[in-house]
């Protein structure tokens, strides 16, 4: 794992540490920031230590991320991002979940994409799962989800 991989997360945490320390010591009323000040002080010291170790190339813990791993994750992460941050409210929970579930299943299913039967199987699994989710959350738990299309 190269040094940059450690520097990025440690640098991000250190930046957050500096930001919360600055906010804690500058915002009013001071009484409301008494506990955050205590936390921020320890936070920024530990984050500074971690960042310094990463910069010096002495960070050794963790497995890191490989290129192939990132390439595997990216399509799923993209589907997840669109599903959570846009489609769930734009299309309604059940419609968005149906589409996201089917797409993820197709993306990561090792079975052949050329076999029509495999596509039918994926559609049946998706329909079965959504039916269970609808029964659980809409009918049993009575959770009112954002509804736009279909449900």
């Amino acid at each position: 794992m190269n040094r940059t991989q450690h520097i990025l997360p440690s640098g991000l945490v250190f930046a957050v540490g500096v930001w919360i320390t600055w906010i804690s010591y500058t915002q009013a009323p001071a009484e409301a920031f008494l506990f955050p000040r205590l936390i921020a002080t320890v936070f920024v010291v530990l984050a500074g230590w971690t960042f310094a170790k990463a910069v010096m190339g002495k960070s050794k813990v963790g497995t890191g991320l490989s290129r192939s791993m990132m390439l595997n994750i990216l399509p799923g992460l993209a589907v997840m991002g669109v599903y959570v941050f846009w489609a769930a409210t734009a299309f309604g929970f059940y419609t968005a979940t149906t589409v996201a579930f089917f797409v993820l299943l197709s993306l990561y299913d090792p079975s052949s994409h050329r076999d029509a039967w495999v596509w039918v199987k994926r559609a049946v699994i998706t329909a079965g799962f959504i039916a269970v989710m609808y029964a659980l959350f809409a009918l049993l738990l009575k959770v009112y989800t954002p509804r736009e299309i279909l449900f």
């Binding site: 440690s10 906010i23 008494l34 936070f43 993820l104 299943l105 959770v143």
Partner: protein, 506 residues
């Protein structure tokens, strides 16, 4: 003996049905590789909102107990531990299965899990009230240090790097301060409208434990992830029981080791099975058989990891310090019902505390009975492809986080924390201390503020927070746990060969 009065409540129709459902569901979830007990319990919390506190806890407790035991099914039949607690079970359990003794290994695993589990819950029953009464003597400064102790102990003992573990705890404590301050009503760190009400614990728990698992499944790419299941031949349960009775040493070592480890906050079941396996091997007259399909290996490992469950709840129910990450999730389950652990729980809600504890006792027996019969089915479920599992867990996480308070903000927080945790875990940061910080943060802050008011009116901050025997003892434990973990980390690093070092770095 107060617990006896509440035994009947476990058998009320709804409670018993939840106990049964939690046990069977937990066995199946536990057998599924990738679904850890912590994640299973976190995903179940939204289903407890509409239940009474007692019933919700019965469901969560049953799932906790049986997911730990269910992990043995995939460890034995697939050589994939269902949870980290089952790693030691694979050593002899899978070898037994390959030798055609899979059914015997499963029976021994569930029987020894039940013995260990019952002993652990009895320890919970008899130790908890004593410690809860003792906790009454705690003032704000002590409770503040107890909360800090909870974060630092898990931060230092449960992480590969002490500094990163403690830093994760600090991140959790900071996240707990986001939102409006309780006393002054001031806005703190609200950098997005979704954070106006602060970070919801349940949404955060789901995100921190479930989403990294989803991304880990994605990381494997188009891989079926399904392993070959070894066929289970018939074996008499009575013979397995006789075998268990013939091996009292392994059973005793496993049960005692698991119970003691469970009592230590932060250590948890991950190492209970391995330590018990190692000790059992050292004290066995047939130590050369270990690793080659010896029943003592399965008995020691499984009795230990279930014996740990009950005692891991002792520090949680008495001092608000979860003994394991799963216990931390259970604490979240208690808090959403407005119940605070400690003497308040046993004085004001004895029916909740004792029915929950009793249900865990009955749950151990049910887990053993059902485990023996559904092991084969559970192993089949464990073969569900990773693509299906990832999509199922993602959808459950989204619905679960939303159903907490019907807020999309919670879903965004869940997803952001989960994605962030996946990447940070790759660099040595840990979810358990972060969750502890998030849960214990409000307790630490409330007692810090209350303590500083008392201190300003009396002896001053230094004397109030650093003086007194109990404060000094707690501070010593905090520092000792950090020093011990730092020493262990240093020793481990020194004992690494150059090849190991290269492996860690790459």
């Amino acid at each position: 003996m107060e617990f006896i009065y509440y035994f009947g409540d476990v058998f009320s129709p709804l409670s018993f049905m939840l106990l049964l459902g939690g046990t069977i569901g937990g066995l199946i979830l536990g057998a599924t590789p990738g679904l850890s007990p912590t994640m299973a319990v976190a995903l179940l919390i939204p289903f407890t909102f509409q239940l009474e506190a007692t019933q919700g806890l019965i469901l969560l407790g049953a799932a906790y107990t049986s997911t730990v035991a269910g992990g043995a099914v995939s460890a034995i039949l697939l050589k994939i531990p269902g949870a980290p607690a089952n790693i030691a079970t694979t050593l002899d359990g899978h070898t037994m299965a390959k030798q055609g003794h899979g059914a015997k290994a499963l029976q021994l695993s569930f029987l020894s899990s039940a013995v260990g589990g019952i002993f652990g819950v009895l320890l919970l029953i008899f130790l908890t009230p004593v410690l809860a009464d003792w906790a009454l003597a705690f003032g704000p400064s002590h409770l503040f240090w107890m909360a800090i102790l909870g974060v630092t102990v898990i931060g230092s003992l449960d992480s590969a790097s002490v500094v990163k573990g403690l830093l994760s705890g600090c991140i959790g404590l900071w996240l707990s301060t986001i939102g409006f301050d309780d006393i002054m009503g001031a806005q703190r760190f609200i950098f997005h409208p979704s954070l106006g009400g602060g970070i919801n614990i349940i949404a955060a728990l789901i995100g921190l434990f479930a989403i990294p698992q989803v991304l880990t499944m994605f990381a494997k790419g188009r891989n079926s992830g399904a392993a070959e299941v070894i066929a289970v031949q018939k074996h008499s349960v009575l013979d397995a029981l006789r075998e268990l009775i013939r091996r009292p040493r392994a059973l005793t070592i496993g049960t005692v080791t698991g119970s003691v480890i469970g009592l230590i906050p932060g250590v948890g079941g991950q190492i209970a099975g391995l330590v018990a396996y190692d000790q059992s091997k050292k004290f066995s007259s047939e130590s050369e058989k270990f690793g080659k399909g010896h029943s003592e290996g399965v008995i020691a490992a499984e009795s230990a990891n279930n014996a740990m469950v009950g005692p891991s709840l002792v520090p949680l129910l008495t001092l608000s310090i979860p003994g394991s990450p799963t216990a931390a999730v259970l604490l979240g389950g208690l808090l959403i019902h407005g119940i605070f652990p400690g003497s308040d729980l046993f004085d004001n809600h004895p029916e909740v505390a004792w029915t929950f504890i009793n249900s865990m006792l009955i749950g151990q027996i049910l887990m053993c009975l059902f485990g023996l019969y559904i092991a084969g089915l559970a192993a089949r479920v464990a073969q569900v492809p990773q693509s299906v599992m990832a999509a199922v867990v993602l959808a459950l996480s989204v619905f679960g986080a939303y159903s907490v308070q019907s807020s999309m903000g919670d879903v965004y927080v869940m997803a952001c924390l989960g994605i962030m945790m996946f990447f940070f875990e790759r660099y040595g940061f840990s979810a358990a201390p972060l969750v502890l910080g998030l849960i214990l943060g409000p307790i630490a802050e409330a007692n810090f503020i209350q303590g500083s008011m008392i201190a300003n009116a009396t002896d001053g901050m230094t004397t109030y927070f650093l003086g007194g025997a109990l404060n000094k003892l707690l501070i010593t434990i905090v520092l000792a746990s950090i020093a011990y973990s730092a020493w262990m980390e240093l020793r481990q690093r020194r004992s690494q060969t150059p090849a190991d070092k290269t492996e860690v770095r790459t």
